[in-house]
């Protein structure tokens, strides 16, 4: 009897060290091994780069890479969490930065052949997203007191509609946490299953000792190549999207659905205009000074 290999077998969790405490398993599994490996690699990179108090002033290639990854998050935080002082934004920044780095490198590590994709298990992504969302709700309560419950009724709603909205808003709120975790999990799992199925197909065609199949194998092979590229893009994108959404939810929790995005945009535009004017003035100044003997 031939036991068919399922493409979902790659997601199986195999324990390396079994540690039982009563009913609870603390085993060290292949999932934990790969998480540990990736974390240690990332920490090694960051520590080597920022050795002497942050690295050189003129960065080399590795330092530029780390700074690129680092620099992504402050722009996000400053854009999304508007309307608060810089001190408050600084408090949320490390958590978001660590979450982004964590999910980015976990996703990318899954693309290495024969390695285990840690984020393709919904317990991990849901655990992360639920914990962060509970944290965000607690922060919202802390910052706004019981007034936080006012976000359940958005502004500008006619009164007869209000009870239905109040009933629906908590469900929508809870669903955000769920969707954050499931989005990442579904993308990773679907991508890896697809690549596995198509590469199995391509390999079987290659091994069939038939010229017709051999030439026709170029199709699936090319699709596997394209899909791998797509999966790399999806890995980076999903980390990005999760981080942006966390910032947006944080903004909602602390600012209670207030319409400050327009004000924020106006503020940003005003700052840009000021910067342009000052740069023009400086340019003319320098030009004028250079002309004098």
């Amino acid at each position: 009897m031939i036991t068919p290999n399922s493409p979902l077998e790659q997601f199986a969790i195999l324990p390396f060290l079994d540690i039982h405490i009563g009913n609870f398993f603390f085993s060290f599994t292949n999932s934990s091994l790969f998480m540990l490996l990736t974390i240690s690699l990332v920490l090694l990179l960051v520590h080597l780069v920022t050795k002497n108090g942050g690295g050189n002033l003129v960065p080399n290639a590795w330092q530029s890479l780390v700074e690129l990854i680092y620099d992504f998050v402050p722009n996000l935080v400053n854009e999304q969490i508007g309307g608060l002082s810089g001190n408050v934004q600084q408090k949320f920044f490390p958590c978001i930065s660590v979450t982004f780095t964590f999910s980015l490198f976990r996703n990318l590590q899954g693309m290495i052949p024969y390695s285990f994709t840690v984020t393709s298990h919904f317990i991990i992504t849901l655990g992360l997203s639920f914990s962060l969302f509970i944290g965000i709700t607690i922060v919202g309560f802390q910052r706004n007191g019981l007034h936080f419950l006012s976000f359940l009724l958005p502004a500008g709603v006619p009164l007869p509609l209000a009870p239905f909205l109040v009933l629906l808003e908590p469900i929508s709120h809870c669903f955000r946490a769920l969707s954050l975790g499931i989005r990442l999990f579904a993308n990773m799992m679907a991508g890896h299953s697809l690549v596995k199925i198509l590469s199995g197909f391509a390999w079987t065609m290659l091994c069939m000792n038939n010229l017709f199949y051999f030439i026709g194998d170029l199709g699936p092979l090319f699709i596997v190549l394209a899909l791998t590229g797509l999966e790399l893009g999806v890995a980076i994108l999903q980390a990005h999207v999760s981080t942006i959404l966390i910032c947006i939810y944080l903004n909602d929790a602390t600012n209670l659905h207030q319409r400050i995005d327009e004000l924020n945009d106006l503020f940003i535009i005003e700052q840009k205009h000021k910067k342009i004017c000052f740069d023009l003035i400086d340019g003319t100044l320098l030009a004028g000074q250079k002309k004098r003997p």
Binding site: L8, E9, F11, A12, I13, P15, F24, F25, F26, S27, F28, T29, S31, S32, M35, L36, I39, V42, L43, V46, H47, T50, K51, G53, G54, G55, L57, V66, E67, Y70, D71, P94, C95, S97, V98, T101, F102, S120, H121, F122, I123, I124, G127, L128, M189, I281, D282, L285, L286, G288, Q289
Partner: protein
């Protein structure tokens, strides 16, 4: 489907929490990691902006001690120059008249002369400060300088 094996849930979550917190603590360590990177970036931005401005008087931080010192010194120097100039002009005018006049009339002349001096000083200071730096932002700082000079001259009058 391996994702639905319930017995793996706890171990996965446990190791996730453990490794995530280890990651967090190691990255947000002082002197290394994220803080080090942010420090280097800030330092670099500051150095680049200073290099770009060169020896220009205007710096990024308007409240810095250096800036206030520079402004104060330039104000004092220009005030002194204008005072000396006006005094020398007035002395020349008095010498040209030749004889010593009555003290009362000379006092009146002094008062009117001092008012004229004040007007001329303000005019000269505004002219000198506009000529030393042709930036339009100095217009605002010049008003502050002029007000400073008012205060200085007023103090001088009170003393006399």
């Amino acid at each position: 489907m391996p994702q639905l094996d319930k017995f793996t849930y706890f171990t996965q979550f446990f190791w996730l929490c453990l490794l995530f917190f280890t990651f967090y603590i190691s990255l947000c360590n002082d002197g290394d990691g994220i803080l080090g990177i942010s420090r280097i970036l800030k330092l670099r931005n500051q150095l680049i902006s200073h290099q770009r401005r060169g020896n220009n008087v205007r710096s990024n931080d308007p409240n810095s001690l250096e800036d206030i010192l520079r402004k104060g010194l330039s104000t004092g120097v220009s005030y002194m120059y204008s005072c000396l100039f006006e005094v020398s002009q007035w002395c020349n005018a008095v010498d040209l008249m030749g004889k010593k006049r009555n003290t009362l009339i000379s006092c009146f002349g002094e008062i009117s002369g001092s008012r004229g001096m004040e007007r001329n000083i303000l005019y000269l200071i505004s002219k000198s400060s506009y000529s030393t730096s042709s930036s339009p932002e100095w217009g605002i700082t010049c008003k502050n300088d002029i007000m400073l000079i008012h205060v200085l001259h007023g103090q001088g009058n009170i003393v006399f």
